[in-house]
Subunit: 383 residues, 2 copies
Amino acid sequence: MQIAIRREPIEGERRVAATPATVATYVREGYQVVVQRDAGAASGYPDAAYFDAGATLVDAVDLTAVDVLAHVRPLEPATIAALKPGAVTVGFAAPAGELDAVAELADRGVTAFSLELVPRISRAQSMDALTSQALIAGYRCVLEAATRFPRFLPLYMTAAGTIPPASVLVLGAGVAGLQAIATAKRLGAKVSAYDVRSASADEVRSMGGTFIHLDLDEDADAAGGYAKELAADRAARQRELLTPHVQAADIIITTAAIPGRPAPRLITADMLTGMTPGSVIVDLAAESGGNVEGSVAGVDTAVAVDGGVITLVGMKDPASTMAFDASRLLAQNIAQLIGLMTVAGALTPDFDDEVVAGACLTHDGAVRHEPTAQAVAERNGAR
Amino acid sequence: MQIAIRREPIEGERRVAATPATVATYVREGYQVVVQRDAGAASGYPDAAYFDAGATLVDAVDLTAVDVLAHVRPLEPATIAALKPGAVTVGFAAPAGELDAVAELADRGVTAFSLELVPRISRAQSMDALTSQALIAGYRCVLEAATRFPRFLPLYMTAAGTIPPASVLVLGAGVAGLQAIATAKRLGAKVSAYDVRSASADEVRSMGGTFIHLDLDEDADAAGGYAKELAADRAARQRELLTPHVQAADIIITTAAIPGRPAPRLITADMLTGMTPGSVIVDLAAESGGNVEGSVAGVDTAVAVDGGVITLVGMKDPASTMAFDASRLLAQNIAQLIGLMTVAGALTPDFDDEVVAGACLTHDGAVRHEPTAQAVAERNGAR
């Protein structure tokens, strides 16, 4: 069976779906591996290393011959249309957003596995690409904040006086938020964090952060460790209670996301006005609507406050800024999922396995993921 | 007596020679303090804070009325010519480079104190601006490296496999180098360091770094904790012995400087070829000739290596990137030096004090710093 890896076609995407190490795994498992030339160039994996691992290098992947296509970004409908019926795809599929592609995958009879749908159970941790990529994002956003901050993060006691540590506030304590806490602590900052899920308090503390309790009399833990959306009046009360914490912070990292929904608005423009000039906010959710009013993905915005300006950073695609390690983890996640489904050198999904069934987006002409199937049906009905 | 602080006239210089805190000190000591409007704007100190501290804000400082001029960058000859004879200046004067300005200071009868000349003795630590600004540079260059490095610095043990820590090599273990070691360690990297001064081995270890001993059979400790220049054959041998360490490093920070001389060339282009693609070199000495062949101050250069490219970063003015804290320390250094010379609200230098005498560049029409006096005399002779 042939596994193919293409150079990611989307501009700016630097990751690759397989590294030489995972190619070697596929070869050992009995697959024939085809890699497009320069597929790993932007992430630091040269063609020669893929060749040495046992891959066949090609100028362009012949999609009609592919049995398994490993990919990073959601596939374009045109790419899907070129696959043979029964082909298998494994990668990010953005099931909530890319409904055209999902419909095409089903129509084409492709068996698509979506990394976003891998169940958050311990047996599937090694396949959890949302987690592995969020690790990168959490680390990265602290570096982005630190380089824009006109002060030290650590405490310094010098002959010319003592410099106090920076105060970092992290909003949203999922994987990215916890990693941001850990990285800011490494750099010596004083870190506090808030999450609408009260269950995260212990995790925040274990990373060295101080957990902020807000008197919201509602908890928002949803299944799978994700957060659910707050009612409008609760969200307003949340913002009101957060305001003094926002204004006391030198650096704010926002990481709040709700699966399949726009990012919650945690910070409004009004809340920024009391911040100290020079402060920096990094909005990790800028690409999905933004936790902070006014943030634009990929753009630094100067916001006027009393006595100066603060910098609002809309993070864009943090994983691609560290493409080597991001690809290393992502490729491993994909290889683990493919390995789980491999029997005697052939990809043979066992739909009785909850990981396989959970990760499956389309199979045999149907959309298998129920919420996505409904969204596709609604979209078709609306046409 | 009037102390004046101007907005630094040099493009890109974001620091300021006094903060509201040091203005308050001057006022307490009995000085009248004049601050040019927006002097602290770029470093995050608003006019209102200077006013509250007791300063008089002016649109332009009347240089003819100034008794003491505190400054960051070396003064322009035109500025010096406007000062009254007997005026005192305190700031960086670059005595080895700015000979025109030095001659003008002497000709004009200005009493100039150069922060570069403050003796490195423990009593003068609080006035040591080279040290305080090097602290900034050492911290900063690690952040610059980390944001350009396509991998994590720390070790990560994840469900998708273990990511090894980055290997950081620091060349030159003065204040900046030690701070770079400390910051890279904070971020979880494996750090080794080399300095031609064998005395620095213990300091490197105390920061958590591994000291690299090269078999050079010559030591290069000079007075004041600085390094002296190596003979050409020793320098070549040093490069040869450093090569395997350079090629094993993921990130290299070079900080080697020799007072009054061009920076030593520690790394040649040849030595880079064996480095791993994605590696990053930050040359802190780029503005004084560069420790690394090909580095250009303020520019990132991609250097081709086997299988990809590495990034060579020529650091430029790192202190201005963190102007708030850089100014805080620098202003304190200046205030300590002025405080040492203040008697009953007037600046009254006691030239029997070794700190005052050591820091004095010009006084009473003469260049007091012997090496600079010689350089000025040679320059005049050559005309």
